[in-house]
């Protein structure tokens, strides 16, 4: 199977990334690309460095070597809050919503930016409340009182408030009921329709195969394989190789 061609219009390109946590060498030269508006998957077992890759792109961890390029400019080492303003959204593995802030205040952390008109803010809010009616209901409730699934919705909605060009999604369906999993799938599809690129880290293979156009496979801190989603099936030996126990 030949590797699929990387898209002509690259949004995020990561090359030969090496990252350490203290003395642990986590990433051993990760390289991948996400094109404009593409949904790209990142699959692998626990601990291979998928989350670390996302964190490095988001600037939460500084790479010791390698480059991260966003819209043509190198961003490795830039402060995360600048990257968020440039258009990178991040939805971490444990959701990490602000538990003591209300749902509305959580959304405002992304909404209250310079250069956004009030009308646009209302538009964004309206859109997000339409996709997640539950959040509209609970808008004045503290984030910590929401259920796991609702917190996941909030985490995604919050990132959407930044009007990002790409969202880094880390295991959004972990611990969610099947009904919520399909809701996540829908949201990914909606975001894709709107032209938002997504880099999706997941353990849920069927979801990933359905939602993504291309998939990277990681093992031991590096990308080992790269395939188009259309060429893979759920019981593919490749899947077993990189995800099997």
């Amino acid at each position: 199977m030949t590797s699929p061609a990387t898209p002509a219009e690259a949004l995020v390109t990561v090359e030969d990334l090496h990252t350490f946590y203290g003395k642990s060498h986590i990433l051993h030269g990760v390289s991948l690309t996400v094109g404009k508006g593409e949904v790209v998957g990142l699959l692998g077992r626990n601990g291979v460095g998928k989350s670390t890759t996302l964190k490095t792109i988001m600037g939460l961890v500084s790479p010791s070597q390698g480059s991260v390029v966003f819209e043509g400019r190198p961003i490795a080492g830039m402060q995360p809050h600048r990257l968020a303003r440039l258009g990178i959204g991040y939805v971490p593995e444990d959701r990490r919503i602000f538990k003591l802030l209300t749902v509305m205040e959580n959304l405002r952390t992304g909404l209250d930016r310079g250069g956004v008109t009030d009308a646009r803010k209302q538009e964004l809010l309206g859109k997000v409340f339409a996709y997640f009616p539950v959040l509209a209901e609970r808008r004045d409730q503290a984030g910590g009182t929401l259920s796991g699934g609702e917190q996941q919705m909030l985490a995604i909605a919050r990132a959407m408030m930044l009007e990002p060009k790409i969202i880094l999604l880390d295991e959004p369906t972990e611990g969610l009921m099947p009904r919520m999993v399909s809701q996540i799938k829908e949201i990914i599809a909606v975001l894709h329709r709107e032209g938002v690129a997504i880099l999706l880290v997941e353990q849920n293979v069927p979801l990933t195969l359905e939602a993504c156009q291309r998939i990277y496979f990681m093992e031991k801190g590096a990308v080992r394989h790269h395939a188009a989603a259309s060429e893979l099936k759920v019981d593919d030996p490749v899947i077993h190789q990189y995800l099997g126990v």
């Binding site: 988001m58 600037g59 939460l60 402060q79 995360p80 809050h81 968020a84 303003r85 991040y90 971490p92 990490r96 602000f98 538990k99 003591l100 802030l101 205040e105 405002r108 952390t109 992304g110 209250d112 930016r113 919050r158 930044l162």
Partner: protein, 300 residues
Amino acid sequence: MAIPWDIIIIQTVNGIVTGMILALVASGLTLIFGIMDVVNFAHGELFMLGAYIGVVVIVATGSFWTALLLSTLIVALIGAALQVTTLRPLLGRDPLTTILATFGISLVLQNYALWHFGPVPRKIQEPITGQFELFYLVYPWYRVLIAALSAAIIGGLYVFLKYGTYGIWIRATMQDRVMAQAMGIPVPAVHTVVFAIGSGMAAASGVLFGPLIGINHAMGLDWVLKAFIVVVVGGMGNLGGSIAAAILVSLLEAYAVILVGYIYVGGQPLSPAMAVVVPFIVLIVTQLFRPTGLFVPTPK
């Protein structure tokens, strides 16, 4: 033994008044700690600096209120400058280093004040004179005023934190610094602003407290020690807790001043100066039984 009710009432009011000023100082300290894990040793010196600047402004303009306002602003700026130059480079290092750095700052500020203003204590005139009757004793209006003003400033802080974009940013950063950054909140700037707010509040306390006691270069130490105790007892980072703890500790100390006269050691009653042990005792008791703070449930 006759219970001196009138003295008890007076001490209660005194305790509340001192408690409010202490709450003002402690709020800044707990806010700074809660958001950037910095134990600001220099907080007492910011208090002292505020009082001195107040003196200078009053001498120049004759207005107490101008002094309060200007002093707060100037020290807020000084605080911001200090944070950017000495604390920002230390971000991410061992918390011990910020204790040391702020200790160094406190030494420099203290000695500068000593050199510039001299060892003779200064005084600020009360903005309103006059007293009122409190149970056949007279009590100065000014003390009630400072309690009210302190409460107002703290109330203002609360409102600022609750509503408004910056308040959300500050609260978000306090809860999860990393995620706040990921949401585009300029955390380094937020740190500086919070440090400035804390410094300004310390300065305001200094000016408000000025008329009650002589202002000298060493006044900061006692206040910062008590403020630390209050912050620890109330729960570090817990704003409401510090305020409650400040009042509690001040009341207890005020009562201790009376009680101490009844305790005899070697034939002599203890001097009222020994009442300073009271906050320390409260600290010890809290640390033994509720280490995370009196008003914070101990995590399992």
